[in-house]
């Protein structure tokens, strides 16, 4: 009961915040007011039951709280006008039309993910204002402290106010320039949840679920834009395979060994449909999200590892590294090449890439295929010297033992 209640407050809180920021013109004031309204709801609803219009209840309460805060701070210059406007707003019934909520949410998204803010700041702001996470939770996600997160959020709000980062909807012709910053926030959120650099994997917060939630929201708000649907497709297709990534004992299961019956078939179908729709809308050249989603779709659509069309995957990676080169894409490209064209080709590609723990782990697997077990074990020793999540580390240790045994 308490969880669904908290979830309702969190989801509605974001919508209310979006509207309140526009009406009061102050991110901090709006956040404080929504926070106080959420606390009031958490106190009242378990007793009174959830009101028939929870959003209206929260809206009216948040506005009252905003007025209270303004009154308390009346002494501060420049706040009088906001206070007067609030008096007017406070009289309405709290029902905000859906179309207004939609536009306010988009305003909030585009302000939080404004290119004038640094990428980690955008992520922190999105988690705070769009996902309603606490600074302590955000600190956990960004591998930093609550104090540091609060400092970052405060600086961001100050910059939004002082530099006048506008709280407005980008025009249609501005969207191509503005959407990449928004999509990269969602994608990097998902990536840090799906493939964290290190840690026990267990977060307080399911970051993947938060990222999917944001991707769903952005797609729902901008259904005609190909980039948000590509991001959602990519997340759905990746998320669909998550249940098979660990076995019952929490051990890492690599793609070739995964029990494909544990994949979420519904999510795969929806992801593929979403990708096709996105490709249809973009018409021209595929973007990085579409290519990554297409690669995920290639894996998701075949019944077994041996049925994988590796040449198609190689082709997609070739396109991906040409438009969005990254070390992880290059590594995956090398793996796909080894599958399609033989181990020697894969190893040759690896030689061109900078070593990293993952690079060593990939090289180990390729060497082992050529029965070079001693070298493979050595590569894993090097991989184990670097950072990795605990399950990944355990997996590498097990593989290393296998290769040592085979090396005799």
């Amino acid at each position: 009961m308490h969880d669904t209640l908290a979830e309702t407050i969190r989801v509605e809180g974001t919508r209310i915040l979006a509207t309140l920021i526009r009406t009061v013109g102050d991110v901090q004031l709006a956040e404080d007011a929504v926070q106080e309204a959420a606390l009031a709801a958490l106190g009242a609803w378990p007793v009174t039951g959830v009101p028939p219009e929870p959003r209206a209840w929260l809206t009216v309460t948040a506005r009252r709280k905003a007025i209270d805060i303004v009154r308390r701070e009346r002494a501060r210059p420049g706040k009088e006008r906001a206070g007067l406007e609030l008096m007017e707003i406070g009289r309405s019934d709290g029902i905000v039309p859906d179309s207004v909520v939609r536009d306010d949410l988009l305003r909030l998204i585009f302000t939080c993910c404004h290119p004038a803010l640094s990428p980690p700041t955008r992520v922190a702001l999105a988690l705070r204002t769009l996902c309603g996470l606490s600074p302590a939770q955000i600190g956990g996600v960004l591998l930093t402290t609550e104090v540091a997160t609060n400092k970052r959020l405060t600086r961001a709000r100050q910059k939004i106010a002082a530099a006048r980062i506008p709280y407005r909807l980008p025009a249609d012709d501005e969207l191509p320039a503005r959407l990449p910053a928004v999509c990269s926030v969602i994608h990097s959120l998902y990536t840090s949840g799906h493939a964290p650099m290190e840690g026990e994997t267990a977060y307080d917060v399911d970051l993947c679920a938060e990222a999917v939630r944001l991707a769903e929201l952005l797609h729902e708000l901008l259904p005609d834009q190909p980039m948000p649907s590509a991001v959602l497709a990519l997340l759905l297709l990746t998320e669909a395979r998550r249940p098979a990534r660990l076995d019952e004992d929490g051990h890492v299961v690599t793609l070739d060994q995964q029990d494909r019956s544990r994949w979420d078939k519904q999510a795969i179908d929806r992801g593929i449909a979403m990708l096709n729709d996105s490709l249809l809308r973009s018409g021209r050249q595929a973007d990085a999200y579409q290519l990554q989603a297409a690669i995920a779709a290639e894996h998701a659509r075949v019944p077994s590892y041996s049925a994988t069309d590796w040449w198609e995957i190689v082709r997609l990676y070739e396109l991906l590294v040409s438009i969005a080169p990254s070390t992880s894409a290059h590594l995956a490209y090398a793996v796909a090449t080894a599958e399609a064209d033989g181990t020697a080709s894969g190893l040759a590609m690896l030689d061109e890439l900078p070593p990293s723990p993952r690079w060593h782990a990939v090289r180990a697997e390729l060497l082992a295929r050529d029965h070079r077990y001693a070298e493979a074990a050595e590569e894993l020793t090097r991989a184990l010297a670097g950072p990795a999540t605990d399950p990944e580390r355990a997996h590498r240790e097990r593989r290393r033992q296998v290769f040592l045994d085979l090396a005799g």
């Binding site: 210059p77 420049g78 004038a116 002082a162 530099a163 006048r164 980062i165 506008p166």
Partner: protein, 115 residues
């Protein structure tokens, strides 16, 4: 309306040198094109002409001056424009037209206006 100081960071050039004439003309053209929003502007002599002033201790302390910048840098402060704009996006749109934006970088800082 808000005001922004657009600080240009480029190669540490001597604007008076004949070879800078055509580039300087581009900056002048920018200021003419955006006369409506450019409230003030200046180009600066190169950093070797700079003097750093400090007062030891507190007000009234000994005035200590040092010559020039501390170290050679690739990009130096070479000028500024005071831009008036509706919001940051409008300011960025104007700043992106300053030649320094492609010859170096432009730092856009909001100005605190007296209430």
């Amino acid at each position: 309306m808000a005001q922004y100081l657009a600080l240009t960071y480029t190669a540490d050039v001597d604007w008076w040198a004949p070879e800078q004439a055509s580039e300087l003309a581009e900056y002048r053209q920018f200021a003419l094109d955006h006369a409506g929003s450019v409230k003030a502007s200046a180009v600066l002599h190169p950093t070797p002409t700079a003097t750093v002033v400090r007062v030891e201790g507190a007000r009234g302390g000994k005035v200590v001056t040092t010559d020039g910048p501390y170290a050679e840098t690739k990009e130096a402060l070479t000028g500024y424009y005071l831009i008036e704009a509706e919001d940051l996006e409008a300011a960025i749109a104007v700043a992106a037209q300053i030649p320094a934006a492609w010859n170096g970088a432009v730092e856009v800082r909001p100005v605190i206006l007296a209430r």
